[in-house]
């Protein structure tokens, strides 16, 4: 028979502390994130500007997706949204491809044991640096360096070297896009490089040694060993970069001359921001902003679930499976045992 003390110990449950420790997170998250998300969803079914209290059903969605809403200028809103979506993908694609290629190349070089590279630490520190600088300041810096007239550094330097007319780095629709891609690459390649480096360093070094002994050249090592084993981290980088690309705001929003915003650089995030951040509630278009947000949310959810699937704790899942199998076996055994008895 168990003593009184033993019985008491058995009844102590620490579960309530678990709930207490995670409660602040969930309270704050629900109040500041979940409810605003639901509220955005509700707003996407409500009217815009003066009509903001009225329930309009799917009108905002049909305006944005098909340009067939009831409000005037519905087709223009739709065109603007799709232009913004197109810009977002162009700008994202144009910075992701050079960024991943450059980062991969640098990561392979930096982790290659055969290459004697002095100042490796310095290079890493310098290449990561752009990533920590305020994005607003980066946009301001590039506008001030690459301004459209001869009064700005780059054009002045080029004209000193004999160029006739200044290049419109900021106002030109195509060049400004290329500039934004360049700035985004400039900001992020160091970060991606360090992530990929840690991925490569996680690969079993004996694989590289074996390849070396077998006489594989560096191209073969890269395509047959590094790249296939780096796949999970590459997918992770791809998806986080895609989701980050959908949020691209600071640089495209601030990269313009004077007070006039450049429509050629409008991304989805900027579209949403413009619609809800217009003076008072009566002047803002919360309905359009809400509908566009929910569309982006749907895209993000699909992308996010891919990463979630890739990021699962594989050991834990294997353990769970094993436990279930053992349970089943045990049950089956008991059943069998019961039958024979």
């Amino acid at each position: 028979m168990a003593s009184a003390a033993q019985r008491r110990i058995k009844s102590i449950s620490y579960a309530k502390y678990g709930y207490m420790f995670i409660a602040p997170f969930f309270l704050v998250y629900c109040f500041f994130q979940i409810w605003p998300l639901i509220y955005t969803f509700i707003l996407s079914f409500k009217g815009n500007q003066a009509n903001n209290a009225a329930w309009v059903g799917f009108d905002n969605y049909s305006t944005i997706l098909f340009g067939q809403g009831m409000a005037q200028g519905s087709a223009a809103t739709s065109a603007e949204f799709f232009k913004a979506l197109g810009n977002t993908f162009i700008l994202w694609f144009g910075n992701f491809i050079p960024q991943i290629l450059l980062s991969l190349l640098l990561a392979v070089w930096f982790t290659d044991a055969k290459v004697k590279l002095p100042g490796k630490g310095f290079f890493k520190v310098v290449m990561y640096m752009p990533n920590i600088i305020t994005a607003a300041s980066v946009a301001a810096l590039y506008v001030n360096l690459f301004g459209d007239s001869k009064y700005y550094f780059v054009n002045a330097t080029l004209m000193n070297m004999g160029m006739a007319d200044p290049i419109h780095f900021v106002a030109d629709p195509v060049i400004s896009k290329i500039m934004v891609m360049f700035i985004q690459t400039w900001l992020w390649f160091g970060n991606t490089m360090i992530m990929l480096m840690s991925g490569i360093m996680g690969i079993n070094p004996s694989l590289f040694e074996a390849a070396d002994i077998d006489g594989a050249n560096s191209r073969q090592v890269f395509f047959k060993i590094t790249l296939p084993l780096l796949q999970p981290i590459m997918v992770y980088t791809l998806v986080t970069s895609m989701i980050g690309g959908l949020q691209m705001f600071d640089i495209p929003y601030l990269y313009h001359n004077g007070a006039n915003f450049s429509k050629e650089l409008e991304t989805v995030a900027v579209f949403i921001y413009f619609n809800f951040n217009k003076g008072t509630v009566e002047q803002a278009s919360y309905g359009y902003a809400g509908a566009a947000s929910i569309i982006i949310f749907a895209i993000t959810a699909i992308l996010g679930s891919i990463t979630f699937y890739m990021n699962r704790d594989k050991d834990e899942i294997a353990q769970k499976k094993q436990r279930k199998r053992a349970e089943k076996q045990y049950k089956a055994k008991m059943k069998k045992g019961g039958l024979t008895l």
Binding site: F25, F26, S137, Y236, T307
Partner: protein
């Protein structure tokens, strides 16, 4: 002809190849490092030149002597001999870019969000690792699932909600949400799983230590490396956050450094090129200094974030 003369000493050949490759890589890296550093260098150089001089020839590669006068213009401390135009320029810049106020506001926001983020994330991670309760795994799944939701998606509802609560022009909507940082929790939980022995909790229970005290006096000191890394990232992210701050803070007195930079950027007339550059320099100076002091930690932290279990 012997093999030797045709191909050279095999060992030399190998050595030469490696030296060649290393040199090429070094040159490419040097170029990239220059691309990273030169814009910052030109920025700092140009903030030491006078506007008139920059308008005549903006192509400056070495420091000038007008840092002091640019600072005076920015602070609106002009002498009596200043022209009306100069005064107008000084007024425009000093009202849009109030350095002291900006640093203070940014510091309040970034500092308090950092403390809240690391403390509550460590607490949530501790709760998820140490205790066994029914909703533990659903709670963790939820945290991973929401990790990827971008702020933009809920910002329309967030701003409207803050309007209805009367929290526009208030630091609360920028600071309190920092308590809930799913990505930081994810990082801290992985760290605890790998380097926090649960026996310690048992031992402290036997010694009669309360649950919360165990967390404060035993778990937090043991999690110092993870906390330090996440604190740096939280501080940088909040110092640089333009999007949310710009939505919430409309009042002149409450603006932070990124908002001030965007204001200076939107000036159409009365431009002073030197002061323009100076504003940007001042906006990135603290973060760059902190970065070069802590760069070792930061690089290690990024690398840790890249390793997925």
């Amino acid at each position: 002809m012997s093999m030797k003369s045709q191909y050279g000493e095999p060992k030399d050949n190998y050595h030469f190849k490696i030296v060649l490759k290393s040199t090429l890589i070094f040159i490419v890296c040097l170029l990239l490092a220059l691309i990273c550093l030169v814009p910052i260098y030109i920025l700092v150089v140009n903030s030491t030149h006078e506007s008139m001089d920059l308008a005549r020839d903006p192509s400056k590669f070495w420091f000038g002597t007008h840092l002091g006068s640019n600072l005076k213009t920015l602070m609106n401390h002009l002498g009596d001999d200043a022209t009306t135009v100069m005064k107008r320029v000084a007024k425009q810049y000093s009202s849009a870019f109030n350095v002291g106020q900006g640093y203070l506001n940014s510091l309040i926001i970034a500092g308090s969000t950092t403390i809240l983020t690391v403390f509550f994330s460590a607490m949530t991670a501790y709760g998820l690792t140490v205790y066994d309760f029914k909703l533990r795994s659903p709670a963790y799944t939820f945290i991973i699932a929401v990790m990827m939701i971008p702020v933009q998606v809920s910002s329309a509802g967030f701003v409207r909600f803050m309007y209805s609560l009367g929290l526009i022009n208030n630091f609360i909507p920028l600071i309190v949400p920092a308590i809930a940082a799913p990505a930081v929790i994810f990082f801290m939980r992985s760290y605890m799983k790998s380097s926090f022995p649960l026996d310690i909790v048992e031992a402290s229970r036997i010694d009669g230590c309360g649950e919360f005290r165990t967390f404060l006096t035993i778990a937090i000191p043991m999690m110092k490396p993870a906390i330090a890394v996440q604190a740096i990232f939280a501080f940088v992210a909040n110092w640089n956050n333009y999007y949310t701050q710009n939505m919430i803070l409309k009042n002149e007195k409450m603006t932070t450094i990124p908002i001030m930079v965007s204001k200076v950027l939107s000036f159409d007339k009365n431009l002073d090129y030197g002061v323009n550059y100076l504003c940007i320099t001042l906006s990135i100076l603290p973060i760059v200094i902190v970065y070069f002091i802590l760069s070792k930690f930061i690089i290690a932290g990024v690398a840790l974030g890249g390793v997925k279990e």
